[in-house]
Symmetry: C2
Subunit: 406 residues, 2 copies
């Protein structure tokens, strides 16, 4: 190995995720996370070892790199893996190719054209249905037939490390008839994963569940910030809007679908049977451990949730087939998030709304304080990794501090 990779690193030799970084001396550019370092792909390209238009590596996002297609990007990933292991490779003995992650700033890895959020965890949809509708009929009639989703705001997706302000907005106080305006009192995270579209379609074209993986470049952790009180008042009949679009936060490294290959698992049985265009073959879920921590200002982190991406009822292939079955076109860089990923256990719920059950069961933090929702000054961190025997492929983290309303 030409660079030291700490044991249990998320960014093992099996991973090779892509991102955009900069340092004091290096303008934003493509890189690969390796252990605690970043391999500078612009610097690698200067060694004349790539056989594609390397200008795409110097762009401020990965869209043009991803647009080269998986035939090229998968080969680049494999080459890097090989070179890192080979002490005689062109990368050997060239420390200037590497940057310490601690000395780099990460940027949005892609320019997101359109962002879609699904609602694909049956446990989450059931919990929300129990709380807000009917405990006996928690799931709406369409839920098991459709991977329900809606369009979100692309402009306000930000990368890990960028703090956000508590949003202000209209809410309807309990027992009131008219709304009031002010900072949200129920700021929440949502533990999600998002996939990055890796291939364009034309308007009118559909992607089958069988083809879907060709159109998925990779995944990131996705925190779909939600202001529950704003959302509750505004969302009927056209869905979430200002309760969501003030910010969503993602992890900076796109872990490729190639890297997640060893972690495929079967999804839950779908009953009733889905319509033919949603039928799929093979293992389309992925076993990825997920957790959420809350760190009060100046305090220590408390892990408040342990979940897993494998819990998803609807998989990414079904989401993409559904999204395009009407001919809706997709573009490289589009992001599609899973919806909150909750499991069956109470400590696996992927939002404060569920963990504290609408404020009725406050969550205890290590410092003795408790939370019904997220406080100003809190930092919320989502982490994720897949592990199978000695193979570990992780996502790092998306970590976001909440500042008071402006």
């Amino acid at each position: 190995m030409i660079i030291d990779i700490p044991e249990n690193s998320d960014f093992s030799i099996h991973n090779i995720p892509f991102g955009i970084f900069s340092t004091k001396d290096r303008s934003p550019r493509a890189g690969v996370a390796v252990g605690d370092h970043i391999l500078d792909l612009v610097a690698v390209a200067e060694l004349d070892v790539f056989d594609f238009n390397v200008a795409v590596l110097g762009r401020e996002d990965l869209n043009d790199f991803i647009s080269l297609g998986k035939e090229i990007t998968s080969r680049v990933r494999k080459k890097i893996q090989y070179w890192l292991k080979d002490d005689t490779s062109p990368l050997a003995g060239k420390p200037e190719l590497f940057v310490k992650q601690s000395e780099a700033q990460m940027h949005m890895p892609v320019c997101v054209g359109d962002y879609t959020d699904f609602y694909s965890s049956i446990e989450h949809a059931t919990n929300v249905g129990k709380m807000f509708r009917d405990p006996e009929n928690a799931l709406l009639p369409n839920w098991k037939h459709i991977p329900v989703g809606y369009h979100g705001r692309a402009s306000s997706i930000v990368v890990s490390g960028q703090p956000i302000h508590r949003p202000k907005g209209q809410t309807l106080p309990k027992d009131a008839n008219t709304p009031v305006f002010g900072p949200s009192q129920r700021l929440d995270f949502e533990l999600e994963m998002g996939f990055v579209v890796g291939k364009n379609t034309d308007l009118g074209e559909s992607v089958s569940t069988k083809e879907a993986e060709d159109y998925i470049f990779g995944l990131v952790l996705f925190n779909d910030w939600s202001a529950r009180d704003i959302q509750k008042w505004e969302y009927v009949p056209l869905g979430p809007f200002l309760g969501k679009n003030f910010a969503s936060s993602i992890s900076p490294w796109i872990v490729t679908l190639d890297a997640l290959e060893p972690f495929r698992v079967s999804g839950p049985e779908q009953e009733p049977k889905v319509l033919p265009y949603l039928v799929y073959e093979g293992e389309k879920n992925y076993e990825i451990n997920l957790e959420v921590g809350i760190t009060p200002d100046g305090g220590d982190e408390t892990t408040v949730c342990h979940s897993n991406f494998k819990y998803m009822y609807w998989n990414m292939a079904q989401q993409l087939a559904h999204h395009t079955v009407n001919g809706c076109n997709i573009h490289v860089g589009d992001m599609m998030a899973s919806g909150t990923i909750s499991g069956k256990d109470e400590n696996s719920y992927g939002s404060m709304l569920e963990l504290a059950w609408m404020g009725t069961k406050p969550v205890q933090l290590n410092d003795g304080s408790e939370r019904k929702f997220i406080n100003d000054g809190d930092t919320v961190t989502l982490r994720g990794y897949a592990q199978k025997e000695a193979i570990r492929v992780g996502f790092g983290a998306v970590s976001t501090k909440v500042l008071p309303a402006k």
Copy 2:
């Protein structure tokens, strides 16, 4: 006048709208509609008459031109007006600066980052509420407090002239418990106007109703295609998705807010009073005549709707103030549509859903056929113009043929 402008042209000397066109010999570029012609702004720039970076005029969209800011773009519009009227201007005697509209192809005028659709006509919201919910309580409790809106799909916005395919999707047949899959049986238009954002904000920043017009570059006609049967089955609880995102069609010329100045009118009284951040001063509605025609394949057009942009309950300044009050950031090129613009009269309803009242009152066409919704082969055309005495400022049309499902 250095070029002939037919009387009653939408593109009078008072208009000067911006768009992107190409011809056999000219690559996509910025132009201005003047009567039946287009003034080629790249060709004008070659005369060295502009004092800004003219490279922006040769781009495939107007985003960079608009980003110059209104101080520059408004001056460009005024200069062009002046030059067109002046027989000794630098544009005089240079027929090569002009292209016939009939010989040009129009393109999307902007690259749309995010697209938002509002629901701001009280007549439309009331009609829909009567049909689908409770005739006695047609408006939901939030409607008069919030300019209700949702995020739509930016990628599938297409320009006038581009045909669309009837979408396929899941629908729930009457009295059935399980959905079926197939072409939508209830394809509809929605008569809307959309505004183009002309100035960026940062995440966390808000735009007041007073500042809002600085952030609006101009307007287009907007047909928010809707598959009512798909929409009905999917939209609870997260809003419209595949019932809308297969296509939206816009007119190619962006009519600037400057050009619409003479057509300001007062909006309807808003009762109950709105929250302070939605209060506005002055006349923020615009009197713009709107109509919709249906042309069966090979047949003649029947006008099925006469409406007016002045009917809007919520104006654009309120929409923008609401959209950003939580800190949601906006970008140049973002598009925000009004929602279906219906008036009080039955012939002013802006969708087939309302005109044919859920299929109970079929609309008669001139050829003797009738329509509950839109048929394959039909061309739907939206037109709009403002007129005050001799001053006419029009939008041209957005005209779209519906092809059978793929």
